[in-house]
């Protein structure tokens, strides 16, 4: 079990002030404790007073969340991200983080560069995760809930248009939620290349989305709803890549001899779980977790029922010997 911050949903029944204390977010308390001014939720600001109320809130939120908004560089590609835990988990877009286990550079707003590693991504919805690997404690922001948003709600986009530029802090854009679906948020916060993976905030300073893609109009800016990150947190942390037909299912890394009527191994892949367990070419698998294996299809079906990380005893015939070999089921490599 990996250690990661608990980012479970908070019961909405808790009074807001208690919630703020509970989370230890002393900074947030002034924002949440005050009753929400009606001007923040009007369909149209009516006068200069309404505008002032919105302005004060936007200024306050921006000042608070900028420090956790980062630039990301992976190879030749530039994107954005946002830190969501003290120990350095960074939300970004799936097309920014890409394959797991790649090294990434995280650029703080003051230009400080940190080392990081890409984790999992859901290619379908375009969510992705990166972990800062440098030791330290990092400024972070809280994840909110996109599912509760109403169309028309004000939102703030931060990020690094055209990639991080020295001397330019994260760039603010203000807009409104124009459309909300399970798999996307659409706003008029204008985005451009380099913003990918940057955060969208509500007026409480909580992340409601991650920038993903644009269309040819200024009203087509698409963000990944934050809720999916929470719902799939463990998979992202574990480095799983899924969605869009590219599943990374359970895997042990052997090829089978198609000529054989038994479950005979033809080849063991390099660095695979099978190799680590000591399986060799020409071994014949007799049983999987004490269950008899008739043939290759049988064996494959048994593996597919297991989760990556499961340890399974195999009975194997090697020449005249019968061996007991324990194999730890792995995950299918991402690049296949």
């Amino acid at each position: 079990m990996r250690n990661h911050p608990r980012l479970s949903l908070t019961p909405s029944s808790l009074p807001r002030i208690a919630l703020a204390l509970l989370l230890g977010m002393a900074v947030l308390t002034p924002l949440l404790a005050e009753t929400r001014p009606p001007a923040l939720d009007k369909a149209v600001p009516e006068n200069i007073q309404d505008l002032r109320v919105i302005q004060e809130r936007v200024k306050k939120v921006t000042a608070k969340v900028s420090s956790a908004t980062v630039g990301i560089r992976i190879g030749d590609a530039a994107g954005s991200g946002v830190i969501v835990s003290k120990d350095g988990y960074v939300l970004t877009a799936g097309h920014v983080s890409g394959k797991p286990d790649r090294s990434a550079t995280i650029i703080m707003p003051d230009g400080k560069r940190l080392k990081g590693k890409t984790l999992g991504s859901n290619v379908g919805i375009d969510s992705g995760l990166i972990r800062i690997t440098d030791k330290g404690e990092w400024p972070f922001v809280e994840m909110g809930e996109a599912s509760k948003l109403k169309t028309g709600a004000w939102c703030l986009a931060l990020g690094h248009p055209e990639g991080y530029r020295p001397g330019r802090p994260p760039v603010l854009r203000l807009g409104r939620v124009l459309e909300r679906k399970d798999k996307l948020l659409r706003t008029d916060c204008a985005l451009v290349g380099g913003d990918s993976g940057g955060p969208l905030f509500d007026l409480d300073g909580k992340i409601i989305g991650i920038h993903s893609r644009i269309g040819d109009r200024l009203t087509i800016n698409i963000h990944v709803p934050i809720d999916t990150y929470r719902a799939t947190w463990d998979r992202l942390v574990d480095g799983e890549v899924w969605g869009d037909g590219r599943k990374r299912g359970p895997y042990i890394g052997v090829e089978f001899d198609e000529e054989s009527t038994e479950c005979k191994i033809a080849k063991v892949e390099k660095d695979s779980p099978a190799e680590k367990a000591g399986l060799r070419a020409n071994d014949v698998v007799l049983s999987f977790d004490k269950k008899k294996v008739e043939d290759f299809a049988d064996f494959l079906a048994s593996i597919k029922k297991r989760k990556p990380g499961d340890e399974v005893p195999l009975q194997v015939r090697r020449g005249a010997e019968i061996l007991e070999i324990k194999v730890v089921v792995g995950r299918h490599p991402a690049n296949r």
């Binding site: 369909a43 149209v44 600001p45 009516e46 006068n47 200069i48 309404d50 505008l51 302005q55 936007v58 200024k59 921006t62 000042a63 030749d76 590609a77 530039a78 994107g79 890409g98 394959k99 290619v123 375009d126 169309t151 703030l156 248009p161 055209e162 990639g163 020295p166 001397g167 802090p169 760039v171 603010l172 854009r173 203000l174 409104r176 939620v177 124009l178 996307l184 008029d188 204008a190 985005l191 451009v192 290349g193 380099g194 913003d195 990918s196 993903s212 893609r213 644009i214 269309g215 040819d216 109009r217 200024l218 009203t219 087509i220 698409i222 869009d244 037909g245 590219r246 991402a334 690049n335």
Partner: protein, 351 residues
């Protein structure tokens, strides 16, 4: 990379992914997006709607009297800002041409003469034959934090458009200016600094350098007999050339020194630039200003040149360019104040 190819069908549904590829001279245009029909939001009043702009009438009530509409040869060119009661108007220089006419708030039309130009800031001072005009009230832009509302007054009661400050006034570094300002002929190489000269790390296929026989790991030593010491020098040198021009490049290849002649091409639209064009026309002259305030107002290029005001109606800058899908740039008031005297006195006379 197979995973990228697979994802295309997905992107075409919703638009363009927003990751960009690094270096200026390298990124080819990757146009895999389709037009989509999404628009509006069920009944959401956005910042650009008339109903929304009404709330800002009070904000611009004073500054509209200091705003002029500028037409050049009878065509819409820019807005301008009245900076002196006796007929001084500041505007965006590069939009001016031919016969310049300023329309005042009261509808009066006056012919203008250019008295001063700041090339760096793309500002021009105009002189009208007028008295008792209403000059703007300046306020240092730094008094308004990021997130503050900004409005662009025009000729009507409501502003032309509104937005918020995206990035406070900042100086643009020399190297960024060199990169962003690069606009000359296109060689088609990706480079990095070397001990001596500039090392080529990638030759873009089909472009000038590839056609001329450049290879990876060649080191550029000189162009037209002028020594090239670093990438900045190379950008600067190329910035002065034009597409179609020939340059002689001295290269170090292994131990050898060779000279190749390259016919420069036009710069292809980068993916970043391509995306920047999505959402409206950009100003022709939109980079290279040494000090800028960035805001997210969506402005047409012809609506630049006029004042930018905060919620108190104070002028914190002059809109100088619609510079990208996400950004409009203004020259901050504190910078303008240092230029005013020189622009009026003829010290910065037009060429």
């Amino acid at each position: 990379m197979s995973c990228r190819a697979n994802s295309r069908s997905f992107w075409t549904v919703y638009g363009l992914p927003l990751v960009i590829s690094g270096a200026l001279l390298s990124s080819p245009l990757t146009a895999y997006g389709q037009r989509t029909r999404r628009d509006g939001g069920e009944g959401v009043v956005t910042r650009s709607s008339k109903d929304f702009l009404k709330a800002f009438r009070e904000v611009v009530a004073k500054s509209v009297r200091s705003t002029v509409r500028i037409r050049c040869d009878d065509e819409l060119a820019a807005f301008g800002v009245i900076v002196g009661a006796d007929g001084w108007v500041l505007t965006k220089a590069s939009e001016l041409k031919g016969k310049i006419v300023c329309e005042l708030h009261d509808g009066k039309e006056l012919v203008a003469k250019i008295t001063g130009v700041s090339e760096a800031y793309d500002l021009a001072m105009l002189k009208l034959d007028a008295k008792a005009l209403s000059p703007v009230e300046w306020r240092d832009s730094k008094e308004d934090a990021v997130g503050s509302w900004v409005a662009t007054p025009g000729m009507n009661e409501a502003p032309v458009a509104v937005g918020v400050i995206s990035v406070a006034a900042r100086g643009i570094s020399g190297s960024e200016l060199a990169r962003r300002g690069a606009s000359g002929g296109f060689l088609g190489v990706r480079v990095e600094a070397a001990k001596v000269g500039v090392k080529i790390v990638q030759v873009i296929s089909g472009r000038a350098a590839a056609r001329a026989g450049f290879e990876e790991d060649d080191v550029i030593l000189a162009i037209d007999d002028k020594k090239i010491a670093n990438p900045e020098a190379l950008f600067k040198m190329l910035g002065k050339t034009k597409p179609g021009e020939r340059i002689r490049v001295r290269l170090k290849r292994g131990e050898e020194e060779i000279e190749l002649s390259a016919r420069l091409g036009g710069r292809p639209l980068e993916r970043g630039e391509f995306q920047n064009q999505l959402g409206g026309k950009l100003s022709d002259h939109r980079t290279g200003f040494p000090m800028v305030l960035q805001h997210d107002t969506v402005l047409r290029p012809v609506d630049c040149g006029g004042p930018l005001v905060d919620l108190d109606g104070k002028v914190i800058g002059i809109n100088i360019a619609r510079s990208g899908r996400t950004e409009t740039l203004a020259i901050p008031a504190e910078t303008i104040k240092t230029l005013l005297d020189d622009l009026k006195s003829g010290k910065l006379a037009p060429k």
